[in-house]
Amino acid sequence: MDKVPSTIPAVLKRLRRRLAVGLFLEIWPAWAIASLIGAGTIVVVCRMFVATAAPYLAWLWLLPVLTAIPALVICVQRAYAPTDVAAVADWLGGGRGALLTWFETTDPAWSDSQLIRQAATFPLPRIRLRLPQMAVIPALVFLAVAWLLPQRVRALDASAALADEIASDLKAVVVELKQEALITPEEEEKLEEQIERIRASAQERVDPSSWEAADALREQVVTGLTEKQEAVKWAQESLARLAAAAEALGSGESLSNAQTAELTKALEKLSKTGLLAGASENLKGMLQAGKMPTDPKALRDLAASLGKYLAETNGKFANAAGLGKEFGRFDPSEFPTGSVSSPDGDGFPGSGGVNRGRGDADLTWGKETTPFDRFKSKPLPPGVARSPEDWSPIVSLPGAPQVSPVVSAQAAARDYAAAAGQAAWRRSLAPRHQTAVKKYFAKDKDK
């Protein structure tokens, strides 16, 4: 072995490495292609149906690399044995058997022979990638294309998000009203049910009706609040009148039950709306007994405590007044009517009116409404039913009103039928057509 040419082990080592590389390139591409196609398919499926998996899809790029591990294991199992390497080397060198013989015998007498030296000068096989190996590229392209696909957002998810957004807005209103103690538990429960119904409807299908329903609910809330505020105002006014009457009383006099009846009714109405829940127990007892104090001193005490309570309650309405504005409701304070000089509009851009202002309104590029806000309607201010007492006659006409003679519909129809077609007959029919028309359309008496 000492006389063995040093080139032979080196050549055999190089050949063994080359064979190992070739073996790996023969085995691994199949695994890599399968993994790439599998990963691409997974990406496509996730892009279409599993939006939540999007953050984890990047790990799929490691799959082809990971497949190198089993491929390497197989390569180790199928590795060329030293005798195989020697056989391949001998075959590459012309198949003269010299390397095989040297490998089996290692006879030093022949180690330095020309035969052995020639056998060690074989060309190493070169790597050539064929179709199975090149197929990795289209598989890679498939994964890349699948990767570049946009994530599909399911309509159901978008609907759910919008439904949650609508419901959360409404629930925020309910929470605020509850904090201000402006709604009763029954009203709160009813509102929760309605909100849930709106949310379920919006989740199934998103259309303008979802926002319309939400706005209708807000209208309902605001209307209820207005009624309650009116009740509070009525109670305050009643209390003020009663207090004034009590001040006018002389010593020893007391108020009659008729004078306290209005306040009693106002407080009963207030009680029905639940706004007396925070009132004093004394007041609640008087209401339950149905008797208001008629004594001036007691009345003053009642007026002081009740007035304070009503003022606080009214202040809560002032706090809740911002709700409507927050919901995008019409706020008349933003459009002061005093500045409008003409019913046709002031001519300023965007200020409304018949002439709608000048046409040089500034464009708002980039400040368009977002898609979610696009369908939010801007509801008109609620109509507030005024008290008939606020109405006053404009003018009084003397005498009875003049009434035109009534013509019944039957009589008008008869008059029309009598003259129907005569005008066309006389004016439009050409003389040369009259015979033919008369033949088919004339009545028997005209023929």
Partner: protein, 344 residues
């Protein structure tokens, strides 16, 4: 890597042997012009101590080649012209009743087979019974007559000839007989240049006079050296796969074998290839057998051992063509290169 050290033939001994063989080959090439491959095959078979069947048209030098070989090797040569009326005893010899000193006894008279080099000319003209007389001699190198077995002289070669075109009055050699020939060498015609050379250098076609170049002892030494030529395991594996693939039922058999071969080669074919490869390797001055040696001896060693189907005759396939397809289909190394590697 194997750590066991086995000795190969000494390089000087191999070189000396190659020189001796080269003398024989060169002398034969002086006699038989333009038949280098035939000469190499015959000498290879001689070194492997195998019998050779020469097949070719008349006048192509078959007999002359054998005669020249006998002169060069200083061997005893006998010639038997096989005819239809030839009897087995005409080949092996027979017992004749003789009187010696008043006593009569059967005395064995050795036939022409008791020689070193037997030229069996036109062997297919003898009857099968006579041909069968050669079976034991060719395989066992002995002759049995009247219950007595006599060894043949060593070395013993049968160099037979047969004519492939004259079929009338001939008896094709049975498979058992063919299997005992190491090689079947087919002698093709010569080209114009060789003919011109023959015409200009030979008068009446007489061949040059030859002197012996090898003694019997030297030849025996050569035989011993041939036996020591190393046959690597990888090459032996190739031979075994090659011979196994001659059977149509083998999974490695190529389409040509499956379509045209009725019976494949016997194990004797593998032995013949191994022996012949050793002889050819020594002829080339190598201490070992290589894949290239196997490929060169495969056709003459296998072709005549294949029993071809009738379809082969219809399609024009002969044994050598089938062996050619076999050599193309069976790779030298059992485990080749990965598909991602290619030779330069």
């Amino acid at each position: 890597m194997s750590t066991e050290t086995r000795s190969l033939l000494d390089p000087a001994l191999v070189a000396d042997s190659q020189a001796k063989i080269a003398r024989v080959v060169n002398e034969l090439r002086r006699v038989i012009l333009g038949k280098e491959q035939v000469i190499d095959e015959v000498v290879t078979a001689l070194l492997a101590r195998g019998h050779v069947l020469l097949e070719g048209l008349p006048g192509l030098g078959k007999t002359e080649l054998i005669k020249a070989l006998s002169r060069l090797l200083s061997l005893d040569v006998r010639r038997i012209q096989f005819t239809p009326d030839l009897l087995p005893t005409d080949v092996t010899g027979s017992h004749i009743l003789q009187e010696n000193e008043g006593k009569k006894a059967f005395v064995f008279h050795a036939g022409p087979i008791f020689t070193n080099l037997l030229l069996a000319d036109e062997i297919n003209r003898a009857s099968p019974k006579t041909q069968a007389a050669l079976l034991e001699a060719m395989q066992e190198r002995r002759v049995t007559t009247f219950g007595e077995t006599r060894p043949l002289p060593s070395p013993f070669f049968v160099l037979a000839t047969q004519n492939p075109i004259e079929l009338e009055g001939t008896y094709p050699l049975p498979e058992a007989q063919l299997d005992r020939f190491l090689f079947k060498v087919e002698i093709a015609g010569v080209d114009r240049a060789v003919l011109e050379e023959i015409l200009t250098t030979r008068v009446h076609g007489n061949v040059p006079l030859l002197d012996p170049v090898l003694t019997a002892n030297e030849l025996a030494d050569l035989f011993a050296i041939v036996d020591q030529v190393h046959l690597p395991r990888g090459v032996a594996n190739y031979i075994s796969r090659l011979v196994a693939a001659t059977h149509p039922g083998s999974p490695d058999a190529p389409e040509a074998v499956k379509a045209f071969v009725k019976y494949g080669s016997s194990p004797r074919a593998a032995i013949a290839i191994g022996d012949a490869s050793r002889g050819l390797a020594l002829l080339q001055g190598k201490p070992n057998v290589g894949f290239d040696d196997v490929r060169r001896v495969a056709a003459p060693a296998i072709a005549h051992r294949l029993v071809l189907d009738y379809a082969a005759r219809l399609e024009g396939w002969d044994g050598r063509r089938v062996v050619g397809a076999l050599l193309e289909a069976i790779p030298e190394i059992e485990r080749g290169l990965p598909r991602t590697l290619e030779t330069r």
